[in-house]
């Protein structure tokens, strides 16, 4: 096991751990709102992963100043992709929350095991 490589790349490890936590929340919690929170944690972990690999140590924000060009810029593309990812995550959770409201009006509860009993 190459511990030094792991410690040097700790943002990736952290984001994968958070991703796992999100999935565990989605799969184990019975409350639907908590499931949606779990989904958000999961997608946020992926965003963190993108931001982490887009960063370059010692780099500056990629704004070209002709007077004083910097030596090293960070990669702006992952951040740009993540903007799209955030919009997608937002719309997914908005839709999920709307469905939960509808479930509540049908069943009077948002606790998943209760639906099975009420069929």
């Amino acid at each position: 096991m190459n511990w030094e490589a792991i410690i040097a790349n700790y943002p990736y490890l952290v984001s994968v751990i958070i991703f796992g936590i999100g999935i565990i929340i989605v799969l184990t919690q019975s409350n639907l709102l908590k499931k949606v929170i779990g989904l958000n944690i999961m997608t946020s972990a992926v965003f963190l992963f993108y931001i982490a690999f887009g960063n370059i140590e010692g780099g500056v924000a990629p704004i070209l100043d002709p007077a004083a060009p910097a030596e090293l810029y960070i990669n702006p593309l992952p951040s740009g992709l993540i903007l799209t990812g955030i919009v997608v995550g937002f719309s997914t959770s908005a839709f999920a929350l709307a469905l939960i409201v509808k479930m509540f009006s049908h069943y009077g509860t948002i606790n998943a095991p209760d639906f099975m009993k009420m069929r």
């Binding site: 991703f19 999100g22 999935i23 989605v26 639907l32 499931k35 949606v36 989904l39 999961m42 997608t43 992926v46 992963f49 993108y50 690999f53 593309l77 992952p78 992709l81 799209t84 990812g85 997608v88 719309s91 997914t92 839709f95 999920a96 469905l99 939960i100 509808k102 479930m103 049908h106 069943y107 639906f115």
Partner: protein
């Protein structure tokens, strides 16, 4: 015709957003407009397909940003096949839904239904023609969300629950896909499939673990979305509780475009040699084979007609995954053949289920007596599609299953032949009782005295059912002609 496949996407996107406004003004105009849009897109897809056949695959950079940086749209053999299949079936389903929906969903939400209907079409077309990986992710999400909305459009509590289940699992799936796309970008620095593939071919040896993880994440992510066997839990609920035109779309097209996306990734980005050597192939073979068996077992015990059809989809997707897992050229031809035939069969079966519900209001498998006499054309089409599911000769299902059986012998897995035969027999075990009920179980009179009546469903609902049934027969009898085309796909993929 100018080479602008972008119109294929915009052509569905713009009318879809006009729908709610139109519904406010003229509610009856929504359905004809949708049929018109789908028809226009079908013609456009045919023209692109013809152009591709004459001039070979063509690529276009969106907004004139050249490929490594900008988004690239490609009409290749596989995407040409898929755009023709998607728009053609959509035209038929739109025609069917113009009358069928009057009994299935609330008329106030009809404008919103067609928004989702066209948005799903747009996103599926985008997904099969795009060559940019992140663009593909966006289209995957749009397909996912609009498919969930198609399920919930009925608004009752089972469909709401099914839609929520689908949405949560689909979001987990796209989380996996997004993570894998991030890793791919990290290694290659490109989002264009061809460029990423070129870089990956040079540097694959440096990152062995990461590529394994990436492929597994892609398989799990797309597996959840396309209901690969142990991850199929959302499918029966969602497909059974949706309105029947939505079920036809979800079952025949939506799950297929994810398979296409997965295999575009495998063959363009990872490359054929790499894929042949990887262990992911065996995962697909094992899961596909178990889907064939267990999907049929689960279907056998269902009493709701649409639920039985939904579980049958799980089993049939197993054939496609098995063919793509075997990965010999002819196995891939078989997989694509089955993909085509299954799209036709499932559309036909779900539309028949919708027509039976429209005329009689019956949903249970045990209460379909006499349908063969009261709705002869519908029952006849259902019978053709069911025979094709089982794999009887002269139907399309026979050819794909035969090819798959021959190929599993060629790829030295002869025991899969037994599995294919067993799965076919199980299909017979759950389709034939329905057909038996249609024709031979007497409700009140003995069989000889019964006479055929005309179907009491509108012509716009009858026509799509008959066309799909005819398509199954055509694929089963004249299907050899499709081989050449499918071999082009394989050559394009495997080169």
């Amino acid at each position: 015709m100018s080479k602008v496949p972008l119109y294929l996407i915009l052509g569905g996107l713009i009318p879809s957003f006009a729908m709610p406004v139109l519904a406010r003004w003229r509610k009856q105009a929504c359905a004809p407009l949708t049929v018109l849009v789908c028809g226009g897109l079908f013609v456009m897809a045919l023209l692109y397909g013809r152009e591709m056949l004459i001039g070979g695959p063509f690529y276009q950079a969106v907004a004139d940003w050249p490929p490594p940086w900008g988004i690239e749209i490609a009409i290749e053999p596989v995407s040409a096949l898929m755009i023709v299949l998607i728009t053609g079936l959509y035209l038929l389903i739109a025609l069917f839904s113009s009358r069928a929906l009057t009994k299935e969903i609330n008329q106030d939400s009809i404008g919103w239904y067609y928004v989702e209907f066209l948005l799903c079409l747009t996103a599926m077309l985008g997904l099969v023609i795009t060559h940019d990986i992140f663009n593909m992710y966006v289209f995957i999400e749009v397909v996912g969300i609009s498919a969930c909305a198609l399920v919930v459009s009925k608004g009752d509590r089972t469909s709401t629950e099914a839609s929520l289940k689908y949405l949560i699992l689909a979001t987990i799936g796209s989380g996996f896909i997004l993570l894998a796309i991030g890793m791919l970008y990290m290694i290659t620095g490109h989002l264009n499939m061809r460029f990423a593939g070129a870089i990956l071919a040079q540097s694959a040896g440096q990152y062995p673990y990461m590529i394994w993880i990436m492929m597994t994440l892609f398989v799990v992510g797309f597996g959840i979305k396309s209901a690969l066997f142990p991850l199929h839990l959302w499918l029966p609920d969602a497909h059974a509780s949706a309105p029947s035109p939505s079920s036809a779309i979800l079952s025949s097209l939506v799950v297929k475009v994810y398979i296409i996306a997965l295999f575009k990734l495998f063959f363009i980005v990872f490359g054929n040699e790499f894929y042949q050597a990887s262990n992911v192939r065996y995962l697909l073979i094992i899961l596909g084979a178990s889907a064939m068996l267990f999907g049929s077992f689960f279907a056998f015990v269902q009493l709701d007609l649409k639920r039985r059809l939904a579980y049958s989809t799980v089993a049939q997707l197993g054939y496609i995954y098995l063919g793509l897992g075997l990965a010999t050229p002819w196995a891939i031809v078989a997989a694509f053949y089955h993909l085509m035939v299954h799209a036709l069969m499932k559309t036909c079966l779900f539309l028949c289920a919708g027509a039976i519900y429209y005329q009689t209001g019956e949903k249970k498998v045990t209460r379909l007596r006499n349908i063969g006499y009261t709705m002869p054309l519908t029952a006849g089409s259902f019978t053709v599609a069911a025979f094709s599911m089982v794999g009887l000769p002269l139907t399309g299902g026979f050819i794909s299953k035969y090819l798959l059986a021959v190929e599993s012998m060629g790829a030295s897995y002869p025991y899969f032949i037994a599995l294919i035969v067993l799965s076919g027999l199980l299909n017979a075990a759950y389709y034939f009782p329905i057909i038996w009920q249609f024709y031979f179980v007497s409700a009140e009179q003995p069989v000889e005295k019964r006479t055929f009546h005309k179907d009491k469903i509108p012509f716009s609902m009858q026509l799509p059912i008959i066309i799909t049934a005819a398509g199954i027969i055509v694929l089963g009898t004249a299907g050899v002609m499709a081989y050449d085309y499918l071999q082009q796909i394989v050559l394009h993929f495997l080169s």
